[in-house]
Symmetry: D3
Subunit: 297 residues, 6 copies
């Protein structure tokens, strides 16, 4: 269960409101790289995956998930403060705009129409966040990589926002959020180490016996350049695999088994055209089967 404190975790100041930057900040609230995503992702991992096994991983996740609510709160406040004094009609818009670049053109109109000058749970294009982005797979290592990925795209976004604005207040707030993302990237990598390290944890899931994998293919870099030329060399084309369980090598793509898939004719009541039906008098089906066979002969 959860508690609140009506104060913010870190101050949010806006020196010069900018409705367009309000729109940009929305990406950090409701974008796929944003804070609603990580908040809910860590909660669902805590309540699912990490409620199994050692309790410390759940402790980690609950702390960070709870902190993230406060980050959404900070950003929602920042959006509202950037909208103070935004134009509500055409005259105001023209008046604010001495050089002709309309404020309304660059802002999210729904900040006026749907929210009354406050934040929305959507991204910089007004697309609402949807929870298909909450990864909580039941596998702790997979979840940690999902978290590292989320914090990486999140910090990339936050630095772009930092670079976009000249407002000292906004830069200060973003410096804080960027710092937290640094920690979060590190803490989720620390879980991998805590669990025994990359080699012990990979391939994920490590509970599936690798002896059941098709052996030729589990450490092969497959190329399919139509020219047949070899791939450019990289760490992935030769040498020991990162998990230490195999040896990287290059393999030109081939068709194992030479199978051309052919499906049975449509059943008579299957809604197909007569020409595809199992009881077709047209003979097309038989012809089709023949042609398919001919391909390989």
């Amino acid at each position: 269960m959860y508690f609140h404190d009506r104060r913010l975790q870190f101050p949010v100041r806006v020196e010069k409101p900018d409705p367009r930057f309000a729109r940009a900040l929305q990406q950090a609230i409701g974008g796929v790289e944003g804070e609603i995503r990580v908040c809910l992702q860590y909660f669902f991992q805590a309540w699912g995956t990490a409620s199994r096994g050692p309790a410390k991983y759940k402790d980690l996740l609950l702390n960070t998930a709870t902190e993230e609510i406060g980050h959404i709160e900070m950003l929602a406040t920042a959006v509202a403060l950037n909208l103070e004094g935004a134009p509500l009609n055409e005259k105001e818009d023209a008046a604010k705009d001495l050089v002709g670049a309309s404020v309304m053109n660059g802002m999210d109109m729904r900040h006026i129409l749907s929210a009354g000058l406050a934040a929305l749970p959507s991204d910089a294009n007004g697309v609402p966040f949807d929870c298909s982005h909450i990864y909580a797979s039941g596998n702790l290592a997979a979840d940690m990589y999902a978290n590292i990925a989320a914090e990486s795209s999140g910090r990339v976004l936050a630095t772009r926002l930092y670079n976009m604005t000249d407002d000292a207040g906004m830069k200060e707030m973003l410096s804080f959020l960027i710092a937290r993302d640094t920690m979060h990237q590190n803490q989720y990598l620390a879980v991998i180490e805590d669990l025994g390290g990359v080699s012990a944890q990979l391939p994920i899931p490590n509970s599936f016996p690798q002896s059941k994998e098709v052996q030729d293919y589990n450490y092969a870099f497959v190329t399919n350049n139509v020219s047949g030329e070899p791939p450019m060399e990289g760490r992935w084309t030769s040498g020991p695999s990162i998990d230490g369980h195999g040896e990287f090598h290059v393999k030109q793509m081939v068709s194992e088994g030479d199978q051309v898939p052919v499906l049975k004719p449509s059943p008579p009541m299957g809604g197909g055209q007569v020409e595809h039906s199992a009881d077709s008098p047209h003979g097309l089906v038989q012809q089709g089967m023949q042609i398919a066979k001919d391909i390989l002969s």
Copy 2:
């Protein structure tokens, strides 16, 4: 540009069609852990992020993206083969079902209604894949972690499908896909190494000067347990950070600056209630401001 070969990369056999397993396989086609996602993700990374800088990363991504089309093809074929002979109406359904567990109940009805016994680009619950899941951030390291995350959840899914079925043909196909996921996890970790390793690449993006971060917070594990008790110890509570740029330590959450956010009254034409308006005669707004101030006094 791209070329096709009508043969499959690896054989797809179904010994005993099972419409319910066809539904389960849909998760590997159109689920967020599925093959449409990784295919398009690697393509957009190749055409964007990796078209900048050294060409070898694009070479890597184009090869794997192109291979993934063929994996969607294999899975789509597997779905169709599992649907051979599926019941199309109530009588057939009852006839197929000697012990009373209706086949139709467990299958995706849209396999009959919308696809005529073939695969759909949706997940095991019939939710269509949407491209908000394609991560191509313009930052190569962030993209690699997104790929590792995708391949981890993908391999977890594939092993669950392997464990779910008893069909030897399906197990064989999945053994191949699981092997490929092993390689893909390794190859994307190999890119991080190729770029200089975790310490050089983190925090992502490494182009933002860490001196601009709020220093107390970038390696602090923040706890907010209402009891005030210290967090459980883990690799993330003390010791050098994973990126080697700092030292992990624990910090109890506090409010820096003690700010309670208060917004200005709604503008007169802003669509609020009179009671929230800037020109409200009710005096409620002034009262509100006062109360807000009182909180901190």
Copy 3:
């Protein structure tokens, strides 16, 4: 900012795990009537609308929003407990099912495939929650009615879940959630009273002068039954309006102004067919205009 306590607000017990009921419970987590919705809705209202004007409304909303996180937590736990021992493959499924009604058929397959026997942020059909359902309009009265609507559909859902299960533990948890919904319906209606009551608050927004409304239509019940028969009588066909600002009366739908809308021909470079173009030599456009005029002559 926010704090956590790793204990639940109210106990969650499951006497006999039921994977199908786990699926039903998902509607209360990620359905449009569910807890993620109300949680985020109250937060965004608190951070937006209610951060203007008297502070007590924000106090109300922050308390309830924060409580709702704990309700998602309880339900997520209930889902996971109902999935304990769920079948992971065909053999297990058959073994569990003595009379032929497959457990897998009725459960959400993604509970196995995507979550490893834990809750998902989606509804009973596996459709992920999306934040377009978060109403925070910047108008306090509109927001309160949105909250009453949410708590009404939420309590309807909770009682249906209560009626669906025979598990004493689940009934106990639902009795708690139903009680909270009762309070929440009452507290949001209490805000309307606190603001001065229905008559003072309606029509929402009350900051728009009703003198600007088209007067004949603001208290008229408009009927459009093609038979021309009068509407059935109800509280809405006569008598004083609920807001007390007008008198209900019945009005047969007519076309004010008799306008048949006609648009200009497509511009030459507008991507239309030649026949619709402004510079069409076919004369069809002119003909169309003529016909449109003839309709009213």
Copy 4:
């Protein structure tokens, strides 16, 4: 069944086309506060909920649903008229724009690209309407509150559009739609009165016996301010409840039962990491269980 008249219910005139206002109007067509939503919502309620019990409620809903189709039509016409003469290419755009504020920047590009200067069934940000917003719960009182909420946000939106434009024709059309929203708010509140009033109808659903609610919690305002200070006083903290069935009182949040949820280890074939598995040799699971127990001891 339904009939049409090609004339509009109320005239739609645009004095000076404004492609940006066309975009704003989209919110009233395909936004969550818009007319497609209420139209379909009232239809589904009429065909479902209100087809049970007294026929007058269905009569009410069918009339209003049918009227709403005509409102979408009016708005779609208004969008198209505001797009007359919109620029189709860069030169036209520059020519129209004497002071440098590009028309194209502020408009919905899909009005050109996808619709050929006509309305789209999407909102002001181009997000298509989706029918998850159609509330038809099978409970008449819950549906009525959903309708009041929809008409409240709808009228808030319409007044914001009215305030945004200077076009006399658009203001006239919006004066009509605003008047209709006034009536609709009143008529749905009238249904609650018609059914016996708030006290008789609440808590919704009124068919669930309140004796089954956890009694301490159904009229308690629960606070979770971490400081432990009492909540600000409002109509909801003391006095009789709005439904008249209880007495409001304040309750500090506590954990009833002190339960820390712990899930069983992942089953061996569940796709988790070895470290979380039921047959893990690592002993971590046992350790985790122990730690979890220790929390409460």
Copy 5:
């Protein structure tokens, strides 16, 4: 503007309610092949595209769009009637199910939980309809082909539903809807003929001068079979084109211009890794450029 008649266009009878068939019918309401789609599609075409040019096309579309509302109504009624007596809890479900095939397993649980035994505006998997499927392009011929496509998939669906059920009432209703789809396919093809026929209308849009097309490619069937073998012969590989403006011929895919796309390095503040930055000291970028050039040399 629009009118209603509370009677149905065609009778809806259900002899033996079947909650599973109720779920199947949902595809015809809220599926992409369903009636909400065609209803709104024809309305938006009527209000947009067909409000330009000759009035008869709008007359056609308004009539059919209005009819389609009544089809949604019929199907919504059919769903509700199929849900009469559906089980609401586990005991009822077991009681109804003599042979073990649970009714609840095959039905849409939201029919119980969210709708109270009535229709939802979603498909057979519970995915809500979304209006991105409304095609109204501003080009009359393109719209007609979109309509033919919709009516084709709609009639395929309706015949599959007809074949799925044994209920005489349901078969009768579907016989009516199937008949209407026959007419609708024909009437939209009739518009193409009315406009002058396929050759005059194609390629769509016919307002773009074909002289501006890259001439070698506008009637070439391009093959990219990696084996280089010629494509199978069909009507599309030789002979006059269907529009009569060209001659079909086969062309092996080649790279016109041999361009390997390379993007500039990431700008210094663009959020990329240092290694991709324009001012990178690593020299990797230059190396990348070189390698890219080498590919073609």
Copy 6:
């Protein structure tokens, strides 16, 4: 299985980068009229519908699907090239903008924030593509009409983009894509002819016996103009039907059977209000039934 060639199928040149045109081009990538849609649509048809019956249709589809990947690649490259030098912050934006029309206002901010100046798999409004638009019905003729519709809206879009830009490089690329759309429209119409022509293929599906249709309605143009006036004459009001199986005629809409649908009262545990319940003591239900009966008497 599939192969790649790192060269583009056709050159992509941008003479003067234009971030706003980059946004417009997104519609051709991730819009419903765009290339991701046709690419995946043809693949799923090839792997499903066209894997039944004569092999030549699959050969056709695989070739074109594979070609379309290369078109997405071209457009993604075009987007990235149009973003070269786009402003990343407010100062750059102001500097680039001599006359006041901000570049940032017209561009997709996520091109900066989420993609680092590269393409996204979304439309011109930033809405991600979703795979519900992939039509692969299991009926070859229905699929072909879906393809013609897709290529028609696709070519309409491409010509609008051509008309929107003045960049010679972009016009050249679009001339190529427009040419391909011309071929694709023709080739899918050619399949209908190859299968025997419109009359043989219609109504789709042609495997359902037309004798089972309600005969009066399958070639009747139904009108529902409330004035009762006859419809405007067109090819669809008289003469032989396009499929040659019937005769067009006009029919005024009537209610066959005069059925007013009434549903049974809500079951006692169905979550409705008491007033709608089967065991209601209020007598309202009986009253409702009576009124419903009275309507028809």
